[in-house]
């Protein structure tokens, strides 16, 4: 079986969890004998001013084609499309970013692709235009390539998937990694919502990353429940050198929040819980790692609660610093208000850090050896944190069973469920 897959990022060009997920998923699918034709838009900047960034990006691209990746690359036909699609931002932020970076951009194309398509003029300056352009590319590809099933990841690629289905008549599977409600709460962007809904309506099957997301899809988008299937995400096993505990320079215990400081991630509940713990126990420090539109508000709140001497903001962390942060942590908290899946607790668990997660996260559906609380229940959250700091058998148990639990969440198994969904619609 051959699958035409529309994504928007792929390692190492990733800004969020989706690229990692797609990478793991395609590797898993290959183990089940599925050929994947992966289509990805690729953002390039201005040739002159953005050259430095461009080169850096190219460097990583080259790395990607090193032997480590070759096994997979050889089997996946990989294409890049010149486009500006940036994940995790809505049209408004996109416009801002594009306005700053790409004021007068010439089109820059991957040579492979450029031979076939000639984009005239400039990049589109708004996200919806980019999405439409991606759809055109989807349709063109669909007419040229041989494949059996179309698989599209998240709303930006749905129009491409739908277009490909119309041109080819092949079945379409759309994959919901996050809904507009997860990104924006109740203040949704109706254009995005419409694209999501139309994509799912046109699709033959919808895959959701958790039952939580499945319910949203059914209840808030009115999608026929019979065609919506949950396939929980998995994680790639990591083999990195353990960072020694000596990395930690404070004598207090460290409780960490790591993620975007936005409404969706529930940072304020973390601060309120921190206050409750600090009232009883001064031998602990709280860290909020990441950045986002609520960051200033959170700094003000921490100051107002007079816990700023024990509550720290690190700003955005990346790569090795993330690992270092985990190595320093005694407890990891993910208080998300709405989290379709949530990969970060799994990363913490792999680093032997016990975790507290909100029940409003998809990952809560697959984990037993964690503490689960409602995001709004700051008493329970504070209690969970306090217990992990004081009752040592909890940490022992989590370290003992948590790692095992995470290691059992294999992409190969998740991919098997995806193949089952393909088979439901596959026309031989």
């Amino acid at each position: 079986m051959k699958v035409l897959m529309f994504g928007w990022e792929f390692p190492p060009h990733i800004t969020g969890g989706l690229g990692t997920a797609c990478f793991g998923m395609t590797k898993g699918l290959l183990k089940h004998g599925i050929d994947v034709l992966f289509v990805v838009p690729k953002a390039y900047g201005d040739e002159s001013q953005e050259a430095v960034r461009l080169i850096n990006a190219s460097d990583v691209t080259v790395k990607m084609r090193e032997p480590v990746f070759q096994d997979y690359w050889n089997q996946i036909t990989f294409m890049e499309i010149g486009s500006n699609l940036i994940p995790y931002v809505g049209p408004v932020e996109f416009e801002k970013m594009v306005a700053e970076d790409l004021r007068s951009t010439e089109e820059k194309m991957n040579p492979v692709f450029a031979e076939r398509f000639t984009f005239s003029g400039k990049y589109g300056q708004d996200l919806m235009t980019e999405v439409s352009r991606y759809a055109l590319i989807g349709a063109t590809l669909a007419s040229e390539q041989q494949f059996d099933v179309i698989h599209a990841h998240d709303w930006l690629t749905y129009p491409a998937g739908v277009a490909a289905k119309h041109v080819s008549g092949k079945p379409l599977v759309v994959h919901m990694h996050a809904t507009e409600f997860d990104r924006s709460g109740e203040n949704i962007n109706s254009n995005v919502y419409d694209i999501e809904r139309k994509g799912m309506e046109e699709a033959d099957r919808v895959i959701t990353v958790s039952n939580l997301t499945r319910n949203i899809v059914i209840e808030r988008y009115g999608i026929n429940a019979d065609k919506v299937f949950t396939v929980h995400n998995a994680v790639e096993p990591i083999e990195k050198a353990e960072l020694a505990d000596s990395e930690k320079h404070v004598k207090e215990k460290v409780v960490t929040f790591l993620g975007r400081i936005t409404f969706q991630k529930g940072p304020e509940y973390f601060i309120e819980a921190a206050k409750k713990v600090l009232e009883r126990d001064q031998n602990v420090r709280f860290v909020m790692a990441g950045t986002g539109d609520l960051m200033e508000k959170m700094i003000r709140r921490a100051a107002r609660l007079k816990i700023a001497s024990k509550f720290h903001f690190t700003g955005f962390l990346k790569g090795e610093n993330v690992d270092r942060m985990f190595a320093m942590s005694d407890v990891y908290v993910m208080p998300s208000v709405s989290e379709p899946f949530g990969i970060s607790p799994l990363e913490a668990m792999r680093s032997n850090v016990p975790v507290v997660i909100s029940k409003q996260s998809g990952v809560a559906e697959v984990l037993n050896h964690v503490l689960k609380v409602d995001f709004w229940d700051i008493d329970a959250m504070a209690d969970a944190i306090y217990s992990l700091l004081h009752y040592k058998s909890l940490t022992t148990m989590f370290r003992q069973h948590g790692t095992e639990e995470v290691n059992n969440l294999k992409w190969e198994n998740a991919a098997a469920h995806i193949v089952e969904v393909y088979n439901q619609v596959y026309q031989k």
Binding site: K276, L371, K372, A380, A382, D383, S393, M397
Partner: protein
């Protein structure tokens, strides 16, 4: 005529309220009164009252041929007094018939035998006194919490003066032997043992309403056929189960009460069987052989061991933390502290922390007010943290007041061999358990 021994366990724990860490040192009331009242009232209505009514009628109908035995924990009695005195009254009516034996156990359904011998002895005495006071008869038969038994426990029970004890007919102990005989204990041959027939007991207690079960629906006639296939030389069938089987675990709609009403009549009409109590059997039967039980057995789960209560890190930390003050509590005269000490020892709290998710998880879930063992642990540890602060304050006040605590002479009881499982005896080699035991003991060192 051969014997059927019916014994029903009646127990209700004091469930804890949600107790946060910021309550520690600030609030010393630990119990969820609303939930406890609600549950006890519900079960009284669904089970205790209607089942006792049926028992009373069966005794009236069949006279001395129908006898049953109960073990009612101290924590259950306290709650009946408080919330459903009519349950106490109905048990008293049963007691007056003279056809009912009440057994002795630990007052608060505790696991004290593993940790604190003096406390264990004291609790058994307290329970026996309570039963005598309530029902006018001093118990002469002992059953330990969850039918937990080992040579070590047999020794303690014998020292308390009991000559008959009930336990599980666990495969790892009996091997090829049948549970349908009277046995005696290895450390004290004078202590006789009745072994639960788990097959026939669980057919009623667990499988009665399972429509997926091949034998469903179970009728009294069919059950009598099963009894009759048992080899004629086997003396006694021990049917031991939670009393809540009737109307609570197996709902009234399943027909469990009709079964309960019908069974004794059908069994007695066959003229092959008669219902006897443990103390009658102690006088009637001679033990066939001695049972050596170096490792703890119980009536729980597939393993029939104590891993439902002890053995994972959470359970062990909670258990050790609570008993860290047993020296002080041995000579404590503060009524509220004694009350909490009793209630916190209840084995149910440790059961809620069990992490054996996948095998017997469904059964555990039914009995568990917490959604995860971790929540159970956190809540319990918060409560115990407060309790320890109070006990320590009490102890300091005693010293300051010139009445220091008496040093209690204590022999450290053997720790439960919770990580070691006794290997099942091979059918052809009855001598195996001793050898196997030696090997595992060595490994344990």
């Amino acid at each position: 005529m051969r014997s059927i021994c019916l014994y029903f366990q009646v127990h209700q724990p004091f469930r804890l309220r949600t107790y946060r860490f910021f309550d520690i040192g600030a609030d010393h009331y630990y119990y969820d009164d609303y939930q406890n009242k609600h549950i006890v009232k519900r079960i009284a209505e669904n089970c205790y009252l209607p089942a006792n009514e049926i028992m009373l009628n069966l005794i009236k109908e069949h006279g001395p041929n129908f006898r049953v035995s109960f073990s009612i924990t101290g924590t259950a009695i306290e709650q009946f007094k408080k919330y459903t005195p009519e349950v106490i009254e109905s048990f008293r009516k049963l007691a007056k018939t003279g056809n009912v034996e009440f057994l002795a156990e630990t007052y608060s359904h505790s696991l004290a035998a593993f940790k604190d011998e003096a406390e264990f002895m004291q609790q058994v005495k307290k329970h026996a006194e309570t039963i005598e006071q309530m029902f006018g008869v001093k118990p002469v038969t002992f059953r330990n919490t969850e039918l937990i038994y080992s040579n070590d426990i047999a020794d303690k029970v014998y020292k308390l003066g009991y000559k008959m004890m009930l336990t599980e007919g666990a495969k790892q102990v009996l091997g090829w032997k049948s549970p349908n005989f009277l046995y005696n204990s290895r450390p004290h041959p004078q202590l006789k043992l009745l072994m639960r027939n788990y097959q026939l007991s669980d057919d009623i207690a667990f499988r009665f309403s399972q429509s997926s079960w091949g034998e469903w629906p179970l009728t009294a006639d069919k059950y009598l056929n099963w009894l009759n296939i048992i080899d004629k030389k086997q003396d006694v069938v021990n049917l031991f189960m939670d009393y809540e089987t009737f109307g609570e675990h197996q709902k009234a709609e399943s027909g469990i009460f009709s079964f309960l009403k019908a069974l004794p009549g059908i069994v007695l009409n066959s003229k092959k069987w008669i219902f006897r109590t443990p103390s009658q059997l102690a006088d009637l039967l001679d033990p066939v052989t001695t049972l050596d039980v170096p490792y703890n057995i119980s009536w729980a789960d597939e393993e029939r061991d104590v891993t439902a209560w002890l053995g994972n890190d959470l359970q062990d930390e909670a258990f050790d933390t609570l008993y860290s003050v047993s020296d002080i509590m041995a000579d404590c005269d503060d009524e509220e502290l004694i009350r909490d000490w009793n209630r916190l020892q209840c084995s149910d709290h440790f059961y809620y922390m069990c992490t054996k998710w996948f095998s017997d998880g469904a059964v555990h879930h039914y009995f568990n007010p917490y959604s995860t063992p971790y929540e159970a642990f956190i809540n319990y540890m918060n409560v115990v943290s407060d309790f320890l602060i109070r006990v320590k304050e009490y102890s300091e006040n005693r010293i300051a007041g010139g009445k220091p605590l008496k040093k209690v002479e204590k022999t450290e009881p053997a720790a439960p061999q919770k990580t070691i499982k006794a290997k099942p005896v091979k059918e052809t080699k009855p001598a195996k358990p001793k050898a196997a035991a030696k090997v595992t003991t060595r490994k344990a060192k």
